[in-house]
Every structure is written in C-alpha cells, then in structure tokens.
C-alpha cells in the first residue's frame, strides 16, 4: 500500500514492484511512478502534453 500523491487515496501495490514502473491510482486515475520500493513511494509520472487539434 502507498498513498497517491494526487488524491491521497490508498493505492494497492503488487509484490514484485520495480523502481520506474508506472501504475495508476484507481481512485483518481493519476499515473504514478514508483520512485522507491522499500518502503514503496510514488510520485506523479510526467504527463504527455496533449494537442487537441483545431
């Protein structure tokens, strides 16, 4: 378990977590990067800027 840096909800983690892995928060959907595993720590993953066209 770790806390989502976006919304504060608990994020369940799987066993063989690796640094650099991207997981999403199931409460808010934020993409989170695993920055440490012992203890698990998450940070917001860099976002792709989206181009909406027009």
């Amino acid at each position: 378990m770790a806390e989502c840096v976006e919304c504060g909800a608990e994020v369940s983690l799987h066993d063989n977590l690796e640094v650099g892995e991207i997981i999403d928060c199931t409460t808010c959907g934020a993409e989170l990067e695993v920055i440490d595993v012992e203890p698990p720590e998450l940070d917001k993953a860099p976002e792709l800027e989206e181009d909406w066209g027009e």
């Binding site: 919304c7 504060g8 909800a9 999403d24 409460t27 808010c28 959907g29 934020a30 993409e31």
Partner: protein
C-alpha cells in the same frame, strides 16, 4: 423469495419501464401491478421490448383500480401525484414519487417555480430521495420524492464543495448541463422526432429551468443554470464553473470529494489520469445507478470546474427511487442496482 409487493403507476412511460426492469430483478420485490391508461390490457413487453424475456405475462392495468402493495412507485407527469396522493397512500404504506410534486419544501417555492401546489401540507413530511445527501432521513419515510435528473447531477457535483467549506454559498456558480432525449419522456413532440433531434446541440430551458429551484433549495446557493439537448438518449452531464472566494488546491478538492464519496456504493471519481475516460461522462455510467464526479482546477481564472455524469433513467430517476426505497425499508442498499454498465457502448 420476494417479501415485498410493488406497484408502478405510469408503467408505460420511460421511467416506469425502468422501474419494472429494476423491480423484476430485485431480490425483495414482486411486481403486483403496472398501470397504463393507453395500453390497458396489453403486455408490458409490447411497449418495453427488453421485458419480453422476464415478464411474458405481466399486463398493464387501469390506474383507477390500484392494487394494495407495500411500495407504490408513481412515475406520472407533474401534477398527477399531488392530485391523487390520497389514493396512492391508501394503496401503499410507502409511496415513492418520481415527479416534481413533492420535491420542494414549501408552498411558496411551488408558487414561484410551478403553478402552485394543491396539497402543501404534505411537503413537510415528504423526504427527498437522494441517499448520498439525505440517507439518514429515509428510513421509515412514507412519502419519498425522487429527485430531478439535472438537479441530481448538479447536486452530486457541488455538494462536497459546500460540505467541505470550499464554497460558502455566496459565490458565482454557473451550471451548464447536457442532456439526452429520454429526459422528455415517451411523449415527445415535433422537436423530439429523430430527424429534428439527431445531432443537436440545442439550448433548451436556457434560463429559468425548474430544477434550479430544487438545486438551490438543497445546496443553499444561487446558481445560473442552462441546459442543452445533445445527441444521446440516456444521460445527464453537469459542468459547474465555480469561483471559490479563497485559494483552493487540488489536495483540498480531493479531500472534499473523497470525504464525501469514498464510501458511497454508487459514486465514482475521475479527475485526470490517462486513457480515454479521464473525467466523468454519461456513457461510462449508462444503464447503471452510478454517478461519476470529477473536477479540474483553473488557477489562472481562480476557477474550479466540476463535472458530474449520471444516467437520467437510473441515478436520475428510477435507480434513485429504488435506492431510496432500499434505504427506507432497511433492505440491502445496492439490491437490484448492481449492473456495472457496458464498454464499449455508444449512446445508450
């Protein structure tokens, strides 16, 4: 198995049909009667083709002869319930009304927004259905007023901000709602024919929409409300633009929404993330009793944009009514309302 009997007045209508569908699959209810004046004697499947499977033998009957049931759901146009409420209450201990007839608190509000009220003395005893806001008032209630669809979408979106003190009721609030064609009911006129209604973004009730009353009354704030018809059948999507007086962070907002809805069985949050579905949208909840809420912060305008999405046939009417009945009668809150919705899905 089923311990309680239920009746539906207005069962040939859109929300009436949904009630039949939900009650038929509900573990605790047995449908005793489904009324329609125009289809009296016909099978329910002749109007609602999805019910051919489950109710081959259920037929519409005359609303003048109401069977005695445990719960009576009334899904008639505005005005019918207030006229017939005595008959309805004679037929059932618990009446759940889907119209606007018992939603507001005072006769004065009915004077202002509708054409007055013929049974104002009942307004105090009637209970607004929306369990997320009003759960504790429901157990034991015997006259339940299911909320308006656009009002429900808006209230679900804004309530957490008021509860958490992000808004104090003095702020500017603009709500821009997009709705599907089932909101108009099975009647419909010229404007709702397929050639005229397809592909629209059509302002309707641009100002002075009656749901404004309901929302303002429940939230205790003034709001500027505008509706647009868009090309879907089910769904109401409310976008509220609010301007809090003080500074607000994303953390504050998450705290407000998680605080309000984390334990709610029918509420989901979506506010960013990746993929196609990043914010609430009606098709993600179509066919279900779920409500989705989410938000985005616009620091340069000191604005919070709040999104909420429901299926007007479910969370916005029939689903909410069954949910409220579950709470009122002490049943399992989610009984009969477990359907998760579809993906992919068009505009259900």
């Amino acid at each position: 198995m089923a311990d309680l009997t239920a009746g539906v007045v207005g069962a040939s209508g859109f929300t009436g049909g949904e009630l039949l569908r939900l009650l038929a699959a509900h573990p605790e209810f047995e449908i005793e009667q489904a009324t329609s004046r125009s289809y009296d004697g016909k099978s329910v499947g002749s109007v609602h083709p999805n019910l051919r499977g489950t109710h081959p033998n259920l037929r519409f009957s005359d609303p003048e002869e109401l069977a005695s049931v445990d719960v009576l759901f009334t899904a008639t146009p505005h005005g019918v319930s207030m006229e017939q409420i005595d008959r309805f209450q004679d037929a059932a201990e618990t009446v759940v009304d889907l119209s606007a007839d018992f939603r507001l608190d005072t006769e004065a509000e009915y004077e202002e927004w509708y054409d007055g009220h013929s049974r104002p003395e009942l307004l105090e005893e009637s209970v607004y259905a929306l369990p997320e806001i009003n759960r504790e008032a429901l157990p034991g209630a015997d006259l339940i007023a299911s909320g308006g669809c656009n009002a429900t979408a808006t209230i679900l979106g804004l309530h957490p901000l008021i509860e958490a003190g992000v808004l104090d009721g003095s702020e500017q609030v603009v709500v821009d709602v997009k709705v599907g064609s089932s909101e108009g009911g099975a009647g419909g006129g010229d404007a709702s024919s397929h050639p005229e209604r397809s592909g629209v973004v059509r302002p309707y009730a641009p100002t002075g929409h009656r749901h404004e009353a309901e929302i303002e009354s429940f939230l205790g704030l003034d709001l500027s409300f505008t509706c647009h018809a868009v090309d879907m059948i089910r769904g109401a999507s409310a976008t509220a633009h609010v301007f809090p007086n003080g500074p607000v962070s994303k953390g504050d907002l998450w705290k407000a929404y998680r605080g309000a809805y984390e334990d709610e069985p029918f509420m989901r949050m979506a506010a960013g993330g990746s993929g196609v579905y990043r914010y609430p949208e009606p098709k993600a909840v179509a066919g279900t009793n779920y409500g989705e809420v989410g938000f985005e912060l616009d620091p340069s305008n000191k604005r919070v944009v709040v999104f909420s999405a429901i299926d007007n046939m479910m969370k916005g009417s029939a689903g909410q009514a069954v949910h409220a009945a579950n709470v009122a009668l002490g049943l399992n809150e989610t009984a009969g309302l477990e359907f998760q919705g579809l993906h992919p899905v068009g505009s259900p």
